[in-house]
Symmetry: D3
Subunit: 314 residues, 6 copies
Amino acid sequence: MKKGIANYQIGDTFDHFLLIKTASKSVASNGKPFLSFLLSDQTGEIDAKLWEASNEDEKAFQQGELVKVSGEVGQFRNKPQLKIHSIRPSQPTDGVFPSDFIEKAPVEKEELMEKITEAIFEMKNPKIQRITRHLVKQHQEALLSYPAAVRNHHEYVSGLAHHIVSMLRLAKQIIELYPELNKDLLYAGVILHDLGKLRELSNAASPSYTTEGKLIGHIPLMMEEIRMAAEQLQIEGEEVTALQHMVLSHHGKLEWGSPRPPLIREAEVLHHIDMLDARMNMLNRALDKVGPGEFTEKIFPMEQRAFYKPTFED
Amino acid sequence: MKKGIANYQIGDTFDHFLLIKTASKSVASNGKPFLSFLLSDQTGEIDAKLWEASNEDEKAFQQGELVKVSGEVGQFRNKPQLKIHSIRPSQPTDGVFPSDFIEKAPVEKEELMEKITEAIFEMKNPKIQRITRHLVKQHQEALLSYPAAVRNHHEYVSGLAHHIVSMLRLAKQIIELYPELNKDLLYAGVILHDLGKLRELSNAASPSYTTEGKLIGHIPLMMEEIRMAAEQLQIEGEEVTALQHMVLSHHGKLEWGSPRPPLIREAEVLHHIDMLDARMNMLNRALDKVGPGEFTEKIFPMEQRAFYKPTFED
Amino acid sequence: MKKGIANYQIGDTFDHFLLIKTASKSVASNGKPFLSFLLSDQTGEIDAKLWEASNEDEKAFQQGELVKVSGEVGQFRNKPQLKIHSIRPSQPTDGVFPSDFIEKAPVEKEELMEKITEAIFEMKNPKIQRITRHLVKQHQEALLSYPAAVRNHHEYVSGLAHHIVSMLRLAKQIIELYPELNKDLLYAGVILHDLGKLRELSNAASPSYTTEGKLIGHIPLMMEEIRMAAEQLQIEGEEVTALQHMVLSHHGKLEWGSPRPPLIREAEVLHHIDMLDARMNMLNRALDKVGPGEFTEKIFPMEQRAFYKPTFED
Amino acid sequence: MKKGIANYQIGDTFDHFLLIKTASKSVASNGKPFLSFLLSDQTGEIDAKLWEASNEDEKAFQQGELVKVSGEVGQFRNKPQLKIHSIRPSQPTDGVFPSDFIEKAPVEKEELMEKITEAIFEMKNPKIQRITRHLVKQHQEALLSYPAAVRNHHEYVSGLAHHIVSMLRLAKQIIELYPELNKDLLYAGVILHDLGKLRELSNAASPSYTTEGKLIGHIPLMMEEIRMAAEQLQIEGEEVTALQHMVLSHHGKLEWGSPRPPLIREAEVLHHIDMLDARMNMLNRALDKVGPGEFTEKIFPMEQRAFYKPTFED
Amino acid sequence: MKKGIANYQIGDTFDHFLLIKTASKSVASNGKPFLSFLLSDQTGEIDAKLWEASNEDEKAFQQGELVKVSGEVGQFRNKPQLKIHSIRPSQPTDGVFPSDFIEKAPVEKEELMEKITEAIFEMKNPKIQRITRHLVKQHQEALLSYPAAVRNHHEYVSGLAHHIVSMLRLAKQIIELYPELNKDLLYAGVILHDLGKLRELSNAASPSYTTEGKLIGHIPLMMEEIRMAAEQLQIEGEEVTALQHMVLSHHGKLEWGSPRPPLIREAEVLHHIDMLDARMNMLNRALDKVGPGEFTEKIFPMEQRAFYKPTFED
Amino acid sequence: MKKGIANYQIGDTFDHFLLIKTASKSVASNGKPFLSFLLSDQTGEIDAKLWEASNEDEKAFQQGELVKVSGEVGQFRNKPQLKIHSIRPSQPTDGVFPSDFIEKAPVEKEELMEKITEAIFEMKNPKIQRITRHLVKQHQEALLSYPAAVRNHHEYVSGLAHHIVSMLRLAKQIIELYPELNKDLLYAGVILHDLGKLRELSNAASPSYTTEGKLIGHIPLMMEEIRMAAEQLQIEGEEVTALQHMVLSHHGKLEWGSPRPPLIREAEVLHHIDMLDARMNMLNRALDKVGPGEFTEKIFPMEQRAFYKPTFED
């Protein structure tokens, strides 16, 4: 048996557990209903069809269910598709758990938390430090489990914390190269910039946008959180405005959703670090799927470019 | 003596009081210092030069001073310019006051406040009503004296309240035509949409941008104010999010500074009412300066268009 | 039996009359021909398939035919689709008429005409009044039956007149708020601005673009109509140019098809009224299809935004 | 004495006749009035100043006057400027005429008219031929004297006819290379495309925009002319629509003022011919002013490019 | 038997040779594999399906194979589709050759070469002439067989040479009209501008992009070729830079892939000639497929416009 | 005496040596010629006027001359301007040298060269290493003295090498964080990406664009250099193409002058490193000129933003 759905090929037979990520019912051209699934494990996803599905099937096989599936890997519109021969819900006795079928950051939560704590500990400006610590503590559990985005980059459990920690490492190095940077402001910006996603998205495992997320968005939501933290901690002063500005401006341009572009040196750097780490994450995941001498799929948020993996080595 | 600087022409002699709106020192090509002023009364403004100015002149004639000026109206680069023969600070015995030399809304503050209060009184949803009333009360004095903008439209004392009241009348009529609109939400949006300018701008009479105004901007500042009002009034619920969305989205597009475009029907209407009233204000002021058969100056925020005043009547 | 196709759901059985809006023949993957229909009544539309269709079927069931259909409502690509069990052309004895199956404005033609006539009657400038009356009279029948557009807004029988009358009400209110506006010019602009669509579109019930409509467009076509009306009525003067400008500029921007942007105050207002009424019509129709707490489908001509219907009331 | 103002250099003394193209009065920093002129002859233009000008000077030296000037060629902001020592109006006995001081096309009017007549004569489709001949005859005098534009390209007397004839030659060659083109339609498009400028501009010698030109523009004005010509000649049919489309679409894009892009093959070609000939005219005039190995000034309507004149020959 | 696949209609029976342009395997909804082909002859292309295909079929029927096919012309998604009844590889004894099934320029290679040689022969500047001749000679075979593009225009065997020769004819005429143009530079630009495609594309018959083509592109590749030719011929001087500039700038704008816009007069003309000839080729091919009074399909690289074929003649 | 022109204020008397960066002659409104200078030392620049200049003055005081100047610092259009009382060319006996009056990188050439050599030494891929070493050696002298740009960032002597070394440090750190990056390719890209400027610009001290620089640009010029180096070293393979791609794509977008966007992971990173280091250099230099609580001047190449220097410390 192969390890993980990502390693199966057209023509292979499959017989293992998978998690139902999405499920929908349609009617075939012969008038019979069928179910379309997106099934996943930690290695990847596959489309699947259950033909001539009954009403019971529809009720049994819904989003979030863990199922035992056997079938054959075919192809539809140039993508692999699993034709299901048999399918059943998982049993307690199967000893499998949904959390084992969800992609996670390659680093443990404890380690991620430790790195964030270290960065806060290094801060010297007490106002910046207290606001940052307060907000991290308040949202700690969600912060350690949420993805950084619904799709595109770091879109896995603990993805947000993974992104933050990766950016902190970048920030640390850049501060060494450009010592004129204010470390406290930059570290705080890195840690807080996307925390608004904890209100923008509904949950960590299969996140969707909340009403608040759609109508307000994570950037203004986080700005508000900083203000309320400052109120609660009775902190006043330009540090609050500067922290809010870091968050507000981190998308870099008005048309990308920042109501102000970066107007403080550290805000400019934050925008670049965010972009660089997000793009490295996307690029690495796309390049992992191809061999030397091949081009990746078009990467939508990178202007739909397809990247090349060279054939030579360094 | 003519009434108001706006009525003087090239060649006229001038001898009256004016307010110094801006003052700056330069050095002429003959090496002698001179002062450049922008002088104003309620009817308008004029550039002025005081040649061979002494250090005492520089100290005496600063922004905000009321001065008695005599001189001759000349022309420089197609614009009138006052060549100053004599100038002196106003004396208490002159019986003139700076507030008489500043442009104001054509409606009194009391009447403006009454109209806003009426609109709040008409609201039925208690959450929307309480938040709106709270914020108006909290900022009442500034709200009644601030301009709606530093330049472009309603850029005079009480301009913001004048703009709000004019928009309320528009909103009232539009609600009659489209009764499906939620009156409370639309009225509250009209009243609150630009209140953030009270923090974005420094003062009512000769406003400039605050640091907070430049780094955050009036839209996110007002969103924050709504949240804090709700906290203080212990109000929760979708009304708060909806009010915040009204404010956030009223510029209509991301590239115009709204981090979200209008996504609620009343937010879409608010954007149109705001634009229409601002444009009518700009257009009327520009058309007042030209005669039938003439084109106005290019109006910068209206895509630099020059508008035509027809020669026929209705 | 349910009232209207819009009220049927997946799984329902249908047995009633419908109008064929479009019909086309294809070949199924089993090599057999089938017919695809878009069927409608006054409440809405549904896709439908007639499998294994004969040549006689193809001839009998064409666009514009009224048919009796029985079948089952299924689903295809997330949209309802009617699987036809039996279908026959309507008979005179059925007592049904195509005009009963077409969506219409919610106001009668007579009332619409009355409102337009009233507006013309109010005009004081005889040149503007005579040109407007002449063009309305000349095109009266089509004006009262055409839609305002092929899709997007007011896309139903009498939609154009409905749009005009709604805009006239808006114009009336706006003139009261801004009395400096020239009522005659604005009313005439409202009435004439889209009359060119009577030449741009082929007919009222199932309109498509004419060659003239595609090569010239309704804006220049209407400009030409105004000139010819003026010639016929032997009217000269700036009023003719101003009326032409109102029509030419009402799309607001060159890239939206207006060869001139609005350069007269009333033309600017006309553009805003047109946009506001069109958007309210689109928004209302989209929001009618969803419940509180839901988002509409993406509205294509409103920058693809999905709008939210709040859960609270005023 | 040098031939023509274009051949004078900084430091030269000037003593000859020039035409006043523009005149305006200003006040110098010493408080004394002076007159600023733009003076021209057939070879070019020069800025000039008459210091300490009297009221009599102001009346005597107005736009359109021919004057005898002596002075010295200096420099102001990197441009030559004539410092006037003495100036007087020309006398009948001077034997000089304003028309000798205006730039003209390098081809005589008679020859231009002949070429246009030839092209009309070659047409076979009687509808296209009659409409074209009618409009040329109707506007013949203006057509032969107007410039093609106020500035940028062919901005001299007879410039429009010069541009048309040059485009006719291009059209003739292109038809030979692509014989599938409809010669009648293309020739008519070339001849008619800019005739609307005869209404858009006020006169041939020192043209400015008419009110009609500003509010409607030459493209819709010409479309109207074609319709009225067709009415008068009682011509109907697709030819009229096609001719109108040629004119409407010749700017190529909506944002360049064409309410429709080219949708007929000949309209596409017309757009390219127009652009190529206009650009060659601009390029040649700019390159004539520089030597080998130099770059021209930035050419505004060619995306502000500065062009290089190579040092080698063919 | 009809001549060429382009002349077959829905319902026709087909029994003839065709070339496999593309082949791919899929699985039908009944779980059985099938092959999808794009088959072609010199007159055009058709989609085709071979249902229930065996592994042998998959191996036998690959891209580039010539096959004998019998089947019936059906329809799928509004496009003709050939349902294959029987198919076999062509035999030597069939006397058919792949080259007879590929679309070619309507002019013979010898004639194309002759025209290019003539143009080189006319050049007077020895540096330009030698570099051009060298590069043509070096790439002669590919130059005469490559298409001008993978799709859009001149996308057939010898398309590049056909495009060059057509542009040379245009250039010749334009030089006659504007004799100030440097013929050598323009001719050389026409001949060399797209030669980089010989490295950008993999081969002449069914071209795809090379890695070098994707990572560098034909414009910089050709710039490099000119430099290397100059090195080899020991030619120095501005002519080399000018030739490189002609190639670099011929797409006209940075966003269209030219790292410099045209900055030499002949480069500007080259860009226009290239665009005009490419567009005439696209337009003619699209208009050939429709009748008078019809619109073409949307032409993607011409801003998706659909062109109209008028009903009248010249 | 103050140290350096940057430290003088309005009203100060100046008496020291300065370098003439630019010189031009004009005529004053009194008809007398004067000379305008841009004078500089290592700390900055100042505009200066020499009134009533003689022909001898014009010849003596040209660009590149070192002069002794005494005068007074005045103000013109809000900028300091030196009114020259006396001026003379420097004498050998003055013991001053032009090179002491030019801004330089804050690091010595030897140290910069060492860092570049180290990076080359670290490379493992012999093809990449040899090409990079070859090009650095070939251009070593210019590489160590040229600025990175004519203006905007690193616009001082040795600016290019300073920029490269700063980017190498960034690259080193980023490779540690993302070890999947190919170090050789990234280092080579950093070192080579702007070497084309050595041909684009005329010289190190007061650089202007060469004809080749204007017509071709540094990006294609460097691509050519890589090819020629490979030819000379007889190196073939994908490494050459990849190096060329690094250079070609480093501006990131077609509209910024890269004919290809980054399509290799290291090219994407190179673009970000280049942008980050250039922006830090611009930001630091602008922020150095203002105090806490102030905004910088608008920084043109950073979208004209004015940056804020916070008042708090970390």
